[in-house]
């Protein structure tokens, strides 16, 4: 039974209400017991005044209102919370008694009793103690939205990772040369006998008799093709696996035999030079290997290092490669006149340097490397005869001609050159400008790509410092161009470059549009083959873009201005190039040294001292022109209508008659352009059928051309090749339903991967 405790203002009511549920239900307000005690004193005082005013038999509602009003007078407004508590008498010892208890139950109370009970494990006791000690409040649970979001994230991660297992299958299918659908086809070829036998039944009486006999004698009706042992072995190694294994073995054997033969051959070679080269290569290889070893296996590396150190010491002691040997001395004498000898000396010095140089490795913790280096340099400087400096160093980093790469320095050289020239000769300024420009442009244009490569290399080598330099160089190049050319050039150069950019953009845009559209949709309907011929050749549907190229007009302007100045291009071109004296560079140059860069151009000039590019070009052009000219064709046949034989010539009349002069070709396009050769071989009627830009999957022209050149048809290929080449990419079976990919494919793929690895 529930006992309802009530406010004690109406004592008689309280007495009645004891154990009476009917009244307790009518009473709405339920209060805490302790609350009651708190307010008790004050209430009582107020009630007496109230009872004098009010009569008995007031309705409940009014009374409550009043009570509330009174309570509000007290200042702090307590929330009227009700509690349904249990009768104290019927409480069990385990539950908390609200009546006489001290109020809240603390955790410590519980733990106190916990200590006494032996049934609780020590671990949980400890945990509880810890809990008691730590006064931290537990974090409130996350809001519903946040928990949901976390749940979603987790679920998505799971699903994504699950789906990713299809990666292998999908990429394999994308790469596959041929896809067969439906995927779960029965394998072609004869079925195993067992499967055929299953569906077979004895029909004729003879068969039945035989089967009866067999079954009576307990003979196996279906004789197994393979014994269990055989099956196991088949399972252990499938045919494919065996094939792969055999192929591997074969390959290994072949490689071994090749290697042996090669070693034998090499051993027999007597050439010293060959072995020298070989040794050098080995050394290089070793060095490369060594670096890896340093990281992988420091102990072994240290040993190797010691060996190397020993070799170095020996080298230094013997002075083998220094210029003190007899051979070196003789060469030193010859070197003044002989290029070869000079080179040989250089090489030797290089070798010496290489051998005497201490290796810089992380293992080597000597800090006197710099000293060593300086020493070596000093040594070299001592050893080097003066005349060696005259020549061009073979391994000079700043020399583009020996490397086959042009660095960015020429631009600076041009600048300095231009400056010096401007100072020197003001009379020949214009000529110089023209000549310099053409020359430089030709050179720069030719080696543009190489320079870029080189720049990339440099930047790679020097890290983040160099890019600034490069930009500086570029700026310098622009400046040099500006200073090289006169004012008009200066004004027009930006416009030209802009024009070029535009052109580039345009081509890109057109390319893109061409590539993106698969279909050319028009209003015309094709019904016959003749209609096909009528299709417009150019994709007219494309929005005609206004021509944005500004390069040609500006160039024309350029030319026009030049003409105004009255300089005949031909004259300029045929004039001899002016030789410029440039101090020779020292052989050993530091590429970091800015002063060394200045003399780059001198090097170039020197390298091309013998070549006369311009006259070569003019000759070339003349030859082309001559080729195009009309020729006289002699059609006389000796002995035709006349006597013929040794020593007899056809008569003059006949010769004159049968010598035909072909019509002169149309004038060449480059007739008035002295510095240009325009090939006349290009046939516009053919170009209509030719591919103009490299199609997408191909990387270079050679690839595409070779693809086009290889025929597919059976007139040029064997039957097997044709079959292989014309294999369709997707094969579907007629009338077969293609089901979506199933989990089995995953397993199949895994098997394949395992087999191939």
């Amino acid at each position: 039974m529930a006992k309802v405790s009530k406010k004690n203002s109406h004592k008689k009511k309280l007495m009645v209400s004891c154990g009476d549920p009917a009244i307790s239900e009518g009473d709405q307000q339920l209060l805490y017991e302790d609350e009651e005690e708190e307010q008790g004193g004050m209430d009582r005082a107020e009630e007496e005044t109230m009872s004098s005013e009010e009569d008995e038999g007031e309705d409940e509602r009014k009374r409550q209102k009043l009570l509330e009003g009174i309570r509000s007078l007290g200042g702090k407004r307590k929330k009227a919370l009700g509690e349904r508590s249990e009768a104290a008498g019927q409480m069990s010892e385990f539950s908390v008694n609200p009546d006489g208890g001290p109020g809240k139950v603390q955790l410590s109370d519980l733990i106190g009793s916990l200590e006494k009970t032996p049934a609780v494990p020590a671990k949980s006791k400890k945990q509880l103690k810890n809990l008691q000690r730590s006064k931290k409040t537990i974090e409130s649970p996350l809001s519903k939205q946040e928990t949901e979001r976390i749940q979603r994230d987790m679920a998505f991660q799971k699903a994504a990772s699950e789906v990713s297992r299809w990666d292998g299958v999908i990429t394999q299918n994308q790469r596959a040369e041929q896809l067969l659908f439906p995927l779960n086809r029965d394998p072609a070829g004869p079925r195993p006998v067992e499967r055929l036998v299953v569906g077979w039944k004895a029909r004729t009486p003879l068969e039945q008799e035989i089967f009866a006999l067999l079954s009576a004698n307990k003979q196996p009706l279906i004789d197994p093709i393979l014994t269990p042992a055989e099956e196991a072995s088949v399972k252990a190694m499938s045919l494919e696996e065996a094939k792969i294994r055999r192929a591997e073995l074969q390959k290994a054997r072949a490689l071994q035999s090749y290697y042996e033969a090669k070693a034998r051959r090499e051993r027999k070679i007597k050439s010293k030079k060959y072995h020298k080269v070989q040794n050098k290569a080995k050394r290089k290889e070793f060095l490369k290997h060594f670096e890896e070893m340093v990281q992988m296996d420091p102990a072994v590396a240290l040993q190797e290092l010691n060996k190397m150190e020993l070799a170095r010491m020996q080298e230094r002691m013997t002075l083998k490669h220094q210029n003190s040997s007899k051979w070196a001395k003789s060469k030193a004498i010859m070197a003044k006149y002989d290029e070869e000898a000079r080179k040989a000396m250089q090489q030797q010095l290089e070798m010496n340097k290489e051998l005497t140089q201490r290796l810089i490795t992380p293992l080597n913790d000597d800090d006197d490397e710099e000293e060593e280096k300086e020493e070596a340099a000093a040594d070299e400087a001592d050893m080097l005869p003066d005349f060696v400096n005259d020549a061009v160093d073979g391994r000079d980093a700043s020399n583009p001609w020996m490397k086959g790469k042009l660095s960015a320095e020429p631009a600076q050289q041009q600048l300095s050159d231009a400056l010096t020239e401007a100072a020197q000769a003001s009379v020949s300024e214009e000529e110089e400008c023209q000549a310099g420009e053409t020359e430089e442009e030709a050179l720069l244009g030719e080696f543009n790509s190489r320079r870029k490569l080189h720049q990339a290399q440099e930047s790679d080598a020097a890290g983040g410092v160099l890019p600034e330099e490069v930009t500086e160089d570029r700026a310098a190049a622009v400046e040099s161009e500006a200073s090289d050319s006169d004012d008009s050039c200066l004004l027009e150069s930006p416009s030209i470059s802009r024009g070029r950019e535009n052109v580039l953009k345009e081509t890109k845009a057109t390319d893109h549009s061409e590539r993106s559209a698969l279909l050319e949709e028009r209003l015309m309907r094709i019904r016959t083959v003749e209609d096909l011929e009528l299709l417009p050749h150019e994709p007219s549907d494309e929005p005609s873009q206004p021509p944005t190229t500004k390069a040609p007009p500006s160039e024309e302007k350029h030319l026009g201005k030049r003409k105004k100045k009255g300089i005949e291009l031909k004259e300029v071109l045929t004039k001899e190039t002016k030789l410029i004296k440039v101090p020779f560079t020292p052989t050993v140059t530091d590429s970091e040294d800015p002063e060394a860069k200045i003399d780059q151009r001198g090097l170039i000039k020197e390298a091309f001292a013998g070549d006369d590019v311009i006259s070569d070009f003019l000759k070339d052009k003349r030859r082309k022109e001559d080729e195009g000219k009309s020729k006289v064709i002699d059609l006389t046949l000796p002995g035709w209508g006349d006597w013929g034989g040794v020593g007899l010539k056809p008569p003059k009349r006949k010769r004159r008659r049968f010598r035909v002069k072909s019509a002169p070709p149309p004038p060449r396009k480059d007739q008035h352009l002295p510095s240009v050769i325009i090939s006349e071989k290009r046939n516009t009627s053919v170009s209509l059928h030719q591919v103009h830009s490299l199609p997408f999957p191909f990387e270079n022209h050679a690839q595409f051309e070779s693809c086009i050149r290889s025929p597919l048809g059976r007139a040029w290929n064997t039957e097997r090749t044709v079959k292989k080449v014309t294999k369709p990419r997707v094969v579907t079976q007629l009338g077969a339903i293609i089901d979506p990919m199933a989990e089995e494919e995953l397993l199949k793929n895994n098997k394949k991967v395992v087999a191939s690895s």
């Binding site: 699903a159 699950e162 299809w166 048809g713 579907t732």
Partner: protein, 460 residues
């Protein structure tokens, strides 16, 4: 004296029986065949021309519905069976080989919103505007029997999409929320909501069968896992997506047909950016279906055309249209990947070839070889301008052609504007936001633009 005599062994050139193939001696030395490239080029050109001449994709039209065809369903076990539901609540079962309707039933009052055949092919489900899900037997009722569904479930709201699980007796519907139903129960076993009130379509992933995707009216695509209690992920697009279709061969790719005239292919693991945007339609794309080989998909559009896209190409390989075909509402690719079926507004279902110039029926081996050879030739010389121009040519109705042109001009102008005044484009007013029926189609929005789009389009 030695006499040399010409001698030939007849075994080398005489065949044993007349049924043997005549031996043709050949020398494959390339120096003896200087014109091989030009000869093959000519063959390729001819093959291309013939392909265009023989490109007749339209096979048949199935008529019989008395209202627009609203949904189609393939039979998973029979190629010749097709189900179609119309806007008047009628469902028809068709025999495609005979081009005839074999069964008609009045399934719902109002639209048949969705239809799907059970994976075993013995029964099918329909949903309609009358808030019911009905389960029907595939066989027609016997003589004298009444046409009655096996089971009817009355839902609380209208269902708009339906799909069946690939392997188990579970199906999914969408409407107010996405529900997963067990066939044996009349209440959903699971419901997914994520702050939106209406979904337009739901599709199970055919490969990873527990996953499903749906598109909602708040322009979002939401992915679910049947085993989880919450949705997985959501991507919100610029305009509303009408349908999605999963690639049946590549588990994590799906393509969605969007109101902004484009189709988007997504990798479900990386929803930030679509893998490919497929353009070419000039009006809202209403339906999309993958070929069972997973290499191409077909899309149906409000612009009265069907287009076929290779799965990794931005533009379509083929466009189908006829004079009488109106807005195409639903499209399906047949299970043998040879045919395409489209249902349109003007009550017809059309049967198309998937490859327009393909020869149908059984081919002799020589024919097959010739076809493969010419196919390879076309592929080899596809970049040559003459061949390209013929292979790419398609006839397009005037209206669509002009619309395309207009769109292109708009796009170009927009691009120019964007490039020239990149910083001011937030002040530019967006394109027309009217419906697409006024002949002035809205511009497909581009990235970063702030615009309000009237996305909703009333179906019919």
């Amino acid at each position: 004296m030695k006499v040399k005599v010409l001698s030939r062994n007849p075994d080398d050139y005489v065949r044993e029986t007349k049924h043997d193939i005549q031996r043709v001696p050949r020398n494959y030395d390339p120096s003896l065949h200087p014109f091989e490239v030009s000869r093959e080029y000519t063959r390729a050109l001819n093959a291309t021309k013939l392909e265009r001449v023989f490109a007749k994709p339209f096979l048949a039209s199935l008529d019989g519905h008395r209202d627009g065809v609203n949904c189609l369903a393939k039979h998973p076990r029979s190629l010749s069976t097709l189900l179609s539901g119309s806007c008047d609540g009628e469902v028809k079962v068709w025999n495609l080989t005979k081009h005839e309707c074999v069964r008609t039933l009045q399934a719902h009052e109002g639209f048949v919103r969705g239809m799907v055949v059970r994976y075993c092919g013995s029964s099918f489900f329909t949903i309609g505007d009358d808030k019911t899900i009905k389960h029907w037997k595939m066989e027609a009722p016997g003589y004298g029997e009444e046409e009655e569904p096996l089971n009817t479930i009355l839902g609380k709201a209208v269902f708009t999409g339906l799909d069946h699980h690939q392997k188990s007796a579970v199906f999914a519907t969408c409407g107010h929320q996405v529900d997963i139903w067990d066939e044996q129960r009349s209440t959903p076993i699971r419901s997914f909501t994520w702050g939106v009130d209406s979904f337009s379509s739901v599709r199970f992933n055919p490969v990873e069968t527990e996953l499903l995707g749906s598109c909602a009216s708040d322009r979002s695509i939401v992915l679910y896992d049947m085993r989880e209690s919450t949705p997985l992920k959501k991507v919100i697009m610029t305009m509303r997506t009408n349908t999605i279709s999963w690639n049946p061969m590549e588990a994590y790719y799906f393509t969605c047909a969007n109101e902004d005239y484009n189709l988007y292919t997504y990798d479900m693991r990386y929803l930030e950016n679509p893998v490919k945007v497929h353009v070419d339609h000039v009006s809202a794309v209403l339906d999309v279906d993958y070929s069972p080989t997973g290499r191409e998909f077909v899309s149906a559009s409000f612009d009265k055309t069907i287009r076929i896209f290779p799965k990794d190409s931005a533009s379509s390989r083929e466009v189908y249209h006829t004079k009488r075909m109106q807005h195409v509402i639903c499209v399906k690719w047949s299970a043998d990947s040879k045919y395409i079926l489209s249902g349109s507004d003007e009550m017809n279902i059309r049967l198309w070839k998937a490859n327009a110039a393909e020869k149908l029926g059984v081919l002799s081996p020589r024919e097959k070889q010739a076809i493969h050879y010419s196919q390879k030739l076309k592929e080899k010389f596809q970049h040559h301008p003459q061949i390209k121009r013929i292979a790419r040519h398609r006839h397009l109705p005037k209206v669509i052609h002009h619309q395309r042109k207009e769109l292109r001009v708009m796009k170009e102008a927009r691009r120019r504007k964007c490039v020239s005044s990149f910083f001011f484009f937030f002040f530019l007013s967006p394109g027309s936001t009217e419906g697409r029926n006024d002949g002035n189609p809205p511009l497909p929005p581009f990235k970063g633009e702030v615009a309000i789009w009237a996305g909703a389009r009333e179906k019919v």
